[in-house]
């Protein structure tokens, strides 16, 4: 039942993404707050609802974006999937896992967006898209991933208290 926190938290993240984060750009790229939150959530120990969060986030983000909902669903599911895999394998180095998931997740999300827009007929040069959008966005996401990971760890400890605490 405590997972209901996903609704206000992701809602706030989508609002912040649309209103503030998308205004703070580096070249033509900017951070994806929702993606980083999902990556951090998927890496927390004991989290079993990461895919639910990803679906909810995708639906929320697609309300304010021209990209269709299934692109966000696919991208965010990919992020969560990578997070769950790495959480089981590199659990001793959570920040390394966080960086890896953020890096790979951003690349996945951008490749999916690029592919869809190309199919839809948008004239997007691949090299410019990578150099001016994806690489700066990667850097910003990686910078954002450190504080977000700490924040989501606190949230996870609150939602899934360990057996000793119980």
């Amino acid at each position: 039942m405590r997972n209901i926190i996903a609704i206000p938290l992701l809602g706030l993240a989508v609002i912040l993404q649309s209103a503030i984060v998308s205004q703070v750009s580096l070249l033509a790229g900017y951070a994806d707050l929702v993606l980083v939150i999902l990556a951090a959530w998927a890496l927390q120990e004991g989290v079993t609802t990461a895919f639910h969060w990803a679906f909810l986030a995708a639906i929320m983000v697609s309300f304010s974006s021209r990209l269709p909902w299934f692109i966000y669903v696919a991208g965010y599911f990919g992020v969560v999937f990578m997070g769950l895999i790495l959480q089981r394998r590199v659990w001793r180095a959570p920040l390394l896992a966080m960086f890896s998931v953020t890096f790979l997740g951003t690349l996945t999300m951008h490749l999916l967006s690029y592919a869809y827009l190309r199919v839809a007929g948008d004239p997007l040069p691949f090299r410019d898209s990578m150099g001016l959008i994806t690489l700066p966005s990667l850097l910003l996401n990686l910078l954002l991933s450190i504080p977000i990971y700490g924040f989501m760890r606190d949230i996870a400890r609150w939602v899934f208290p360990s057996m000793e605490e119980v």
Binding site: A19, A28, S64, R66, A120, P123
Partner: protein, 281 residues
């Protein structure tokens, strides 16, 4: 008789002595004595006064500190309240300035009817150049309506919900606007890019395009009303081997500072897609 004489004598002597003393003192003969006397008096009085003040301060000081602290807290609260007021008033002044410019713009273009809207967000994807405004179908906003500011063309409404709408900026890579160059009356196509820069394409090779030429919407295609300011030519690229000239454009609108926009509500975009011939096998 003898008593009366002695009293008169005594009185006279007293008057004489007092008068003499007064004369001597006014003449300055007693100054050293009076100085010493008054100096002693003053120092005694000063001693008492300083001790009294010290005792008074000792007794009154704790009460003053408490009252000063509470007063200080009150003043700090007042200062923070006033600072908040200043910030909100500055925001109102900015909004008023923007609205005044928009009203002036709508007065200079009385044929169109406008609806002002605030920019409340941007598309979460960095590949797309869209803004979200706080007016929707409840305010008679429809898909395809042009969006402008007092500086010039912003874009067109792409999607509408009840209380909000998404606007495609002219800087979006998928955006294309039919325009003409005011000086040469030459038609061209304004296209966006992923960096947010806009450029002109499909300019006839025979046209003489100069940096600084004003670019206006042509109205061709029915997507935008004619004669909306778009920007100015910055530089021209003309190659003999190519069919058309290209030019980079400085947009009239600063897209990074969009706060309030106007939607032209009495313009209905024409969908000419059914008129475009399709190749059939």
């Amino acid at each position: 008789m003898k008593d009366l004489f002695s009293r008169t004598l005594q009185t006279t002597i007293i008057f004489l002595v007092v008068g003499g003393i007064l004369v001597l003192s006014f003449g300055g003969f007693f100054s050293s004595v009076t100085n010493q006397f008054t100096g002693g008096l003053v120092s005694v009085q000063q001693w008492f006064a300083t001790r009294y003040l010290a005792i008074q301060e000792f007794l009154a000081a704790p009460r003053d500190i408490v009252s000063l602290r509470s007063r200080n807290a009150e003043l700090q609260k007042q200062v923070s309240d006033l600072q908040a007021q200043v910030i909100s008033l500055q925001q109102r002044v900015n909004e008023t300035e923007i609205l005044a410019a928009l009203v002036a713009f709508s007065r200079t273009n009385p044929d169109s009817s406008y609806k002002a809207a605030s920019v409340i967000g941007r598309d979460p994807s960095p590949f797309l150049h869209y803004i979200i405004i706080n007016r929707g179908s409840n305010d008679d906003i429809r898909r395809g309506m042009p969006v402008v500011t007092s500086e010039g063309l912003v874009g067109r409404v792409d999607a509408v919900i009840a209380d909000a709408a998404r606007v495609q900026l002219i800087t979006d890579p998928a955006s294309s606007v039919n325009v003409y160059l005011k000086n040469t009356k030459t038609d061209a196509m304004l296209i966006g890019s992923i960096t947010g820069d806009v450029s002109l394409d499909l300019i006839s090779q025979s046209a003489t395009v100069q940096p600084g030429d004003l670019i206006l919407t042509s109205g061709l295609g029915g997507g935008f009303p004619p004669d909306l300011i778009v920007g100015q030519v910055v530089n021209v690229r003309k190659l003999a081997a190519e069919l058309f000239q290209q030019a980079t454009v400085q947009p009239a609108v600063d897209f990074s500072r969009l706060q309030i926009v106007l939607v032209i509500t009495n313009f209905r975009a024409v969908d000419i897609a059914p008129l475009i011939p399709t190749v059939t096998p």
